[in-house]
Subunit: 224 residues, 2 copies
């Protein structure tokens, strides 16, 4: 169980030789002792287990950075680090994973809806997928800081939209307004994001236009 050079270890652990040296550079494992300067690395059993640990943890979704932290905990052990710390990290990771699964499920839904709606044949012009994807991407994600003087992105909270058609209508109404440079509407989040020249139209006028189309509309503070 001794005298393992890097190639053997790589073989046993199931990684590439270069990968082990890469882990060494990343301080995940120490450089093992070598007979003389420039000689071969001879790996101890403990290091091999450490490598197994790294692989397993990776399979569980831990990044190399996180793994380094876990290993660090153990290296500096018997001080105050205890099992609850490790448990915490595992729980946090479990949370991460759950979130990722949720995200993927949403993606799955979106895709499934798209596929459902698609006729599956005929010219592209009839393909609903392209149309659907060109709709607004929904302002539910990141907010951009926009503090322009003559052009601002106004966000409206809109009620009464139930489908893509409603989105379309609202989009159309907004785009008809003077000073509107562009907009994106999402019925899911009930929001619209409008790029507008404020010297030409007020946010209240915008909201009013939307109300005129039969929806409710409230101005959302941009500086949110």
């Amino acid at each position: 169980m001794t005298d393992m050079t890097i190639g053997k270890v790589a073989d046993v652990v199931g990684v590439g030789v270069e990968t082990i040296r890469f882990y060494e550079r990343r301080k995940l494992i120490e450089q093992p002792p070598r007979p003389r300067e420039g000689g071969y690395r001879i790996y101890s059993d403990a290091t091999v287990r450490r490598l197994h640990f790294i692989r397993r943890a990776q399979e569980l979704g831990f990044s190399l950075r996180e793994i380094a932290e876990l290993l660090g905990l153990r290296d500096a052990d018997s001080n105050q680090a205890d099992a609850s710390d490790v448990r915490q990290r595992a729980l946090a990771k479990l949370n991460d994973v759950d979130q990722k699964i949720d995200q993927l499920r949403q993606i799955r839904q979106g895709l499934a809806a798209l596929v459902d709606r698609c006729p599956g044949q005929g010219p592209l012009q009839c393909c609903s997928i392209f149309d659907a994807l060109e709709q607004s991407s929904g302002p539910d994600s990141r907010l951009t800081i926009s503090e322009e003087i003559d052009m601002q992105t106004i966000r409206l909270s809109i009620g009464g939209m139930h489908c893509n058609g409603c989105e379309e209508i609202v989009r159309h109404v907004l785009e008809q307004q003077t000073g509107v440079k562009g907009c994106s509407v999402s019925h899911k989040s009930g929001e619209a994001r409008v790029a507008v020249d404020e010297s030409m139209i007020s946010d209240e006028q915008l909201a009013e236009a939307v109300r005129g189309a039969g929806y409710s509309a409230n101005i959302m503070k941009t500086t949110e």
Copy 2:
């Protein structure tokens, strides 16, 4: 709805300015017309929709490369590309997503098991998580080509292992054998991967040793 410079477009679409230029470099969008050489880019409505498309497709898990293909389909449309092509891609992506979800579910299971087993307090030495992760990572993943002369990785198919304890026993037995340089055992896949000096012990002797511990063992061709 005209006269949108890059900043406004970025704001409306919800991406960074640099990102739009990046998409341009990646040929996802064309460079929009500019009044004169060196002037500002003025974006058309169509391009803004194209950007929305990109964002939406990204949210659905398509990579930029795939998105470029989708857009390419449309650009060269009315030829033979039809909706079924797009549908195929969406279905393929749906499949990808399902696979990813499955993987994450497995990871979730592993993590949950780990957390379950962990005492949640006390010194790290008692933390089962570290122990569990140090166990073999299971040779179920990639096979390494090993065609060494005096050292080979032998793979054994082992029956009768039901838990980590069994893994431990088998690992111990294997490591006790002369010539064994290292091993990794997985009860899940029912496999062991042993690094061994073949001049010192034969694969059959190894298998016999495992059988002596009460498990079944068969040699798997390394050149699999």
